[in-house]
């Protein structure tokens, strides 16, 4: 990772050194060793520090600290939002609306709800990767308990108009959850938009530590929720377990840094992404998965005709750190369900590469990565059978 150009920020962003330093200091601080839930003086000191961190996390999404439930990460937040709210909605609300391009956390939580007897409507995106408010409106029912859609897609970067969808839900009294793991800290995210009941995000996508995330749970009206596990009733009864103070402190600072940098970094990273895409035209025929806009600034999903993704990644190994068309499913080796939902062929999915830029990315990184990718594509194409370039896309 030191020598390679790191273009996998959508998987995880490098830990900001300022965050690492603060976390280390917190771990070593003799005054911050107590359980924040303890009532003695040492516990109260830890609780105060925790409250400050929670405030920083809340401010990133324009929420009150009391509305933030700290979790182990976005996967847990999404599970708690989807399973907890639907199970809590009661017998008269058996219907859930989601999309085929959600992160596996959302997909698998909704599949679990199907196994429990709920009826899930799976919306398909257009070729641009977007789910429209009109699509959502068309499938809402009297018994709809939840609409759950990603704010920014983790593979294409496509943004959903969550304000419009939340408004529809608000008017019908339906809970709306959005997975903002890829958007929080990258574009303005406003949990106070009318209709947003639940919003998930995490620390490690924005320079914070892995292992901590947050679920915003609207206070008034609070959606009916059931916890996923039980214990001491921490986090307003929704997420029992002693909180890791150093993780929360790191998360808080990462949110504060991301919020402070948002105005400058968002256009800078967007410009770098377009510079990268421009330079990759030298490897034409190439295509972009999903629309260029609206999107989060740092994600570029591209495909190269005649290229097998595994070979491209091995060509780039040690030079560019990126994700293949298998993207978030690397654990299972399955081709991307997102690109499949966009109508891409299996060959095109395998020929795709997700390049994701972040705060550490500089213009020279982009230039070096683009040159390496163009070289790698050319080398692999030079070995292709005649006719393969036209047929494999």
């Amino acid at each position: 990772m030191r020598d390679a150009v790191y273009l996998d920020h959508a998987a995880t962003a490098p830990l900001d050194p300022r965050v690492a330093a603060l976390m280390s200091a917190c771990l070593a601080d003799p005054d911050l060793q107590a359980n924040p839930a303890s009532s003695h003086a040492a516990g109260r000191a830890a609780a105060e520090r925790l409250a400050a961190a929670r405030g920083q996390v809340a401010r990133l999404v324009n929420a009150l600290p009391e509305a933030i439930v700290l979790t182990s990460g976005a996967t847990e937040s999404v599970n708690l939002a989807v399973l907890g709210s639907v199970r809590g909605a009661g017998a008269g609300h058996r219907h859930v609306v989601t999309s085929r391009v959600e992160h596996r956390a959302g997909l698998d939580a909704c599949r679990q709800l199907e196994r429990e007897g709920h009826d899930v409507t799976w919306l398909a995106p257009g070729g641009d990767g977007e789910i429209s408010a009109a699509q959502v409106e068309a499938v809402l029912r009297e018994d709809t308990a939840l609409v759950s859609l990603m704010h920014a897609n983790n593979e294409t970067g496509a943004l959903t108009d969550i304000g419009a969808v939340a408004g529809l839900c608000e008017a019908r009294g339906i809970a709306f959850h959005t997975d903002a793991a890829q958007s929080a800290g990258k574009v303005p995210v406003d949990a106070a938009l009318p209709g947003i009941a639940l919003l998930s995000f995490c620390a490690h996508k924005l320079g914070g530590p892995k292992g901590i995330g947050a679920l915003y749970v609207r206070r008034r009206p609070r959606p009916p929720m059931q916890p996923l596990h039980f214990g001491g009733g921490h986090e307003r009864g929704l997420r029992s377990g002693t909180l890791a103070l150093h993780q929360a402190v790191g998360f808080g600072l990462a949110c504060e840094l991301a919020a402070a940098a948002l105005g400058d970094e968002s256009p800078r990273i967007r410009a770098l992404r377009e510079r990268l895409w421009g330079q990759l035209q030298a490897a034409a025929p190439a295509w972009r998965n999903g629309a260029a806009e609206p999107s989060v600034p740092g994600i570029l999903s591209v495909g190269f005709a005649g290229i097998e993704g595994e070979s491209l990644l091995l060509e780039l190994d040690g030079v560019v750190a990126a994700a293949s068309g298998a993207a978030c499913n690397s654990a299972t080796g399955e081709p991307s369900h997102v690109l499949r939902a966009l109508g891409r062929s299996e060959e095109a999915i395998q020929a795709s590469l997700r390049l994701s830029l972040g705060r550490g990315t500089q213009a020279e990184d982009v230039d070096r990565a683009a040159a390496a990718i163009v070289r790698a594509v050319a080398r692999l194409r030079a070995a292709l059978p005649l006719g393969a370039l036209e047929r494999i896309a």
């Binding site: 990644l313 190994d317 994700a323 993207a327 299996e346 070995a383 059978p385 005649l386 494999i392």
Partner: protein
């Protein structure tokens, strides 16, 4: 994902890095034959071209689309065929390629595509030799 190299043996990495034998046959004496196998559902497409001279394969090249194991296997076959008699039989089948490359079981489907392309090449070579010995009237 980004740890692309984790699943590849040193042999695969070495063959993939060099891709010896990739490209087209240079002009030379002798008959040119080819063998191809395409299985895009397995993301593999392999084509061998060989020059036959005095019942031996004097040169062999490949072109391929596929994963690193596919390309490495095609390169291994192309280089090992050089100088081999055309009647030697199928010396590098998929099982042997799997062992040589220390490939995981899930790559067998793609290695079978390499084997099929090799079979087609050898069948073509034998046909050429037969036609030379027994030309059509």
């Amino acid at each position: 994902m980004s740890t692309a190299a984790a699943g590849y043996s040193p042999r695969v990495r070495s063959l993939f890095s060099a891709l010896e034998g990739a490209g087209d046959l240079p002009e030379a004496a002798g008959a040119e034959v080819s063998g191809e196998a395409v299985a895009l559902d397995r993301l593999a497409w392999v084509r061998f071209a060989a020059r036959i001279d005095a019942r031996r394969i004097s040169d062999c090249r490949f072109r391929a689309f596929g994963c690193p194991h596919t390309l490495a296997a095609a390169s291994l076959v192309a280089t090992q065929l050089r100088g081999a008699p055309i009647d030697a039989g199928l010396v590098l089948d998929a099982a042997r390629l799997k062992r040589e490359l220390d490939a995981p079981a899930e790559k067998m489907g793609r290695l079978l595509v390499v084997e099929d392309a090799l079979r087609n090449l050898l069948d073509g070579a034998r046909r050429v030799q037969y036609q030379r010995r027994w030309p059509s009237p």
